[in-house]
């Protein structure tokens, strides 16, 4: 593959696309697919055929368009029209409307609303636009030019400098500066190094990485290849959870296509870089999203974390220096290389650059996937973009960061969303899950839900997490059952402090966050449930006793 060949593919693809007058895009990501968007696509194809429009109209499967709550989604790309909640029966009307240019009113989904208008798409720029199963479309959209640019006109130090300049921080949750991580791996000695993409997205209510993998898999491959060049790795792994079969399928297709085009494999773009990517499936353990547990799992060991240091950058997969980044982090790399770190750093806040994808879930009108610049306020996300709370209910809290995060109350709605502000109020950025709760939610219940999650997902290796989470869960249950006393609440707080400070990995260290943040902002809800005395009842045989006396 050369730059010219890449350009030829892009040219041909654009020409083929230009020959069609109409472009019907049908979302085929997991959300819409689960409401039968495949049948919608079949119906549209049949209608196009019936109308004799095959020559002029393309029906294309694309990835996630974001507004998952209103799926299946269909967009008429040439007319900038989107349809929501489309059924196969609507196909005839949609095809009919192509000529009139008058959108079908009952299906029309306005795109000038904040949900779409306020987004800034970098990671998701191709999502819902290209066919994720065709590399040609990714190339036509400018794909793999960043890889070419990095390989042929930048040295490794320049690539890392560009990433550092962008200010990109790890999108998996902890927010470690990506450029710094890359330079650590690049500096580490050893002939063999690895690049791993962490696609073990497991937070309840989070589906950002899944959408990217299902909608634009090549972007992740390209980001990984650039990283491999920068740090000196020749082998990569994508660790993706087996619960994402569609993502796995599309990744496999993408890897095969990229290999075929010489964009992965030996001497990419005729340079000395050789880079191969393999997929490893996670068997459903949340803790395997923790980098050392993930490495153990790839090695074929039990998915358990080990103490750090040494960090994977020094000693990771099979003892070799290893770069681990999250899906979204890698997805940010191609545009950063293409447009420069400076451009990226101009977006967002001082310490949190660029954009972040969020999965809106819970008690919010517009459930779905969004990408916004860092620094946007929670209020804008929830009320403007999310459309507020359904059924006229009152907002109570928003939970960010998954089970490791915390609940943020109303008083902080005008706070900017960035890594540091979220930590300040007792939560974390996490991977981008955002669960909105209304006045009907009991915060003690919410805390117990997340504690239950941590408890069942604890690997059981270290004592504080294995036993501490169970004890905290039992205490929360006792509180909810109105059997707990002030002493129990005090013990719960002591355990929170202990588990947070002594656990081996992030799972345990962050497990108390949900309790701590709800105690901080909603302590009255705990206090209201406490009782004076927690004596257990005697064995229920009062009847027998009465008979005896």
């Amino acid at each position: 593959m050369t730059a010219e060949e890449l350009e030829t593919i892009a040219q041909e693809e654009r020409e083929a696309c230009g020959r069609k007058k109409h472009h019907l895009h049908v979302c085929m990501a997991a959300g819409c697919l689960s409401s039968c968007s495949d049948r919608v696509k079949d119906a549209l194809e049949a209608q196009v055929k019936a109308a004799g429009l095959e020559e002029h109209c393309q029906v294309k499967p694309v990835g996630c368009m974001g507004l998952c709550a209103a799926g299946p989604l269909v967009s008429v790309a040439d007319q900038n029209v989107m349809y929501k909640e489309v059924t196969p029966d609507d196909a005839a009307d949609i095809v009919g409307a192509l000529k009139t240019q008058q959108p079908v009113q009952r299906l029309h989904c306005r795109m000038d609303v904040p949900f779409f208008a306020r987004q800034k798409k970098i990671v998701l720029e191709n999502c819902g636009v290209i066919d994720p199963e065709r590399i040609e479309e990714y190339i036509a959209a400018g794909g793999y030019t960043a890889l070419h640019q990095a390989l042929t006109s930048m040295n490794t130090a320049e690539v890392i400098a560009e990433v550092s300049r962008s200010g990109l921080r790890g999108r998996g949750g902890a927010g470690y500066p990506t450029g710094l991580k890359w330079s650590m791996v690049a500096k580490a000695g050893g002939a063999t190094k690895y690049v791993i993409c962490n696609a073990d997205e497991g937070d309840p209510g989070a589906f950002m990485d899944r959408s990217v993998l299902e909608s634009d898999p090549h972007r992740v491959l390209e980001g990984m290849a650039i990283a491999a060049y920068a740090v000196g790795a020749s082998r990569g792994y994508i660790y993706v959870r087996a619960e994402y079969p569609l993502a796995v399928k599309r990744l496999k297709i993408a890897i095969r296509q990229a290999e075929k085009q010489g964009l992965l494999g030996h001497n990419i773009f005729g340079t000395p870089l050789s880079f191969e990517i393999d997929i490893r499936l996670g068997a459903g353990a949340y803790v395997c999203g923790e980098e050392t547990a993930l490495i153990a799992s790839i090695e074929g060991e039990r998915g358990q974390p080990r103490p750090r240091p040494p960090f994977p950058a020094e000693s990771g997969l099979w003892g070799a220096p290893t770069l681990i980044n999250n899906v979204e982090t890698f997805a940010n790399i191609p545009p950063i290389i293409r447009q420069g770190g400076q451009w990226y750093a101009a977006i967002g806040t001082e310490k949190s650059k660029g954009t972040k994808t969020f999965a809106l879930a819970g008690k919010v009108n517009n459930t779905g996937l969004i990408e916004v610049p860092m620094g946007i306020t929670l209020r804008e996300i929830i009320y403007d973009m999310g459309g507020g709370i359904p059924d006229g209910k009152k907002f109570k809290a928003v939970q960010t960061g998954g089970p490791s995060g915390g609940c943020i109350p109303e008083q902080f709605l005008d706070m900017p969303v960035d890594y540091d502000s979220l930590v300040k109020v007792g939560s974390i950025m996490g991977s981008g899950g955002m669960i909105i709760m209304d006045e009907t939610s009991s915060m003690v219940d919410v805390a117990r839900y997340f504690m239950e999650f941590c408890m069942t997902e604890s690997c059981g290796k270290c004592v504080p997490c294995r036993v501490g989470t169970v004890q905290m869960h039992d205490l929360l249950t006792k509180i909810i059952d109105r059997k707990a006393t002030v002493r129990d609440l005090a013990l719960l707080e002591e355990l929170c402090d202990m588990v947070r400070n002594t656990s081996l990995c992030g799972l345990g260290q962050n497990a108390p966050n949900a309790v701590l943040s709800t105690l901080r902002y909603f302590r009255n809800e705990y206090d209201e449930l406490l009782v004076e005395d927690d004596a257990e009842p005697a064995l229920a045989d009062a009847g027998a006793k009465e008979n005896a006396s």
Binding site: P307, G460, C462, V467, G468, D474, M498, N501, T502, L504
Partner: protein
């Protein structure tokens, strides 16, 4: 000639000490007679860092690190016995006592159990954390050894010694979180294990009464003297 060793200087509890760069904080501490409590650690086995008893404070790091796996470094300032560390260690031991059914008074390891000793050394006179009282199985199918899950603290010394020293890897851990269990092979009765070499190393490294040698309990001291009438009767019938 072995590879050149780097010697580093550091402070442990205010005391100036030195050690090789490939040594752990625990190594250097014990060389200098500074006691750090441990449970999952056992000299001769790989570091595990799971019991969290050997956590120490390191100046400049906001995280507590386990002394058994953290290597020493030049200029490090280590604190091994702050009130906070003592509090956490006490809670770790309490969590272990509350996790399963540890009844010292009726345990075969009473008087020589590391968990029991830890409780005493750390000044634990009672358990403030609610006991969980799980119902756990017991494997006595092996001719020589017993595995009592009620007394297991999941330190995995047995798993590591079986894998790293004996090379059999008969033992491993199954399940997640609180449901973790030490298992034999693919969760089979010990007596029918094809891989166990009956070397007994697991029993010798177990810190509690979870793995024990048979024939040491009171009930096992029953003598069988019924062979005698049978023998004399049979001999009588021969003559």
């Amino acid at each position: 000639m072995s590879a050149p060793t780097t010697v580093v200087s550091l402070k442990i509890d205010g005391k100036d000490v030195s050690g090789r760069a490939d040594e752990t904080i625990l190594d250097v501490a014990s060389e200098n007679k500074i006691h750090i409590p441990t449970l999952c650690f056992l000299e001769g086995l790989s570091g595990w860092g799971a019991c969290r008893l050997c956590l120490v404070e390191i100046k400049g790091s906001h995280k507590l690190l386990s002394a058994c796996v953290t290597k020493v470094a030049e200029g490090m300032e280590v604190t091994t016995d702050s009130p906070r560390l003592l509090k956490y260690r006490r809670m770790v031991v309490q969590l272990l006592f509350a996790e399963r059914n540890h009844v010292c008074s009726v345990c075969v390891s009473n008087g020589h159990c590391e968990l029991q000793n830890l409780a005493q050394v750390l000044g634990i006179t009672h358990i403030d954390i609610p006991y969980r009282y799980p119902t756990l199985p017991f494997d006595a199918s092996h001719d020589l050894f017993r595995l009592d899950h009620n007394r297991c603290v999941l330190c995995t010394r047995c798993v590591r010694v079986c894998d790293e020293i004996e090379g059999a890897h008969t033992l491993d851990v199954m399940g997640r979180g609180i449901d973790c269990r030490v298992i034999i092979d693919l969760n089979e009765p010990w007596g029918s294990s094809q891989t166990c070499t009956t070397c007994g190393k697991c029993v010798r490294v177990c810190p509690t009464g979870a793995l024990t040698r048979k024939g040491t309990g009171v009930a096992e001291m029953e003598k069988d003297d019924q062979f005698l009438p049978y023998l004399t009767r049979m001999r009588g019938s021969q003559s």
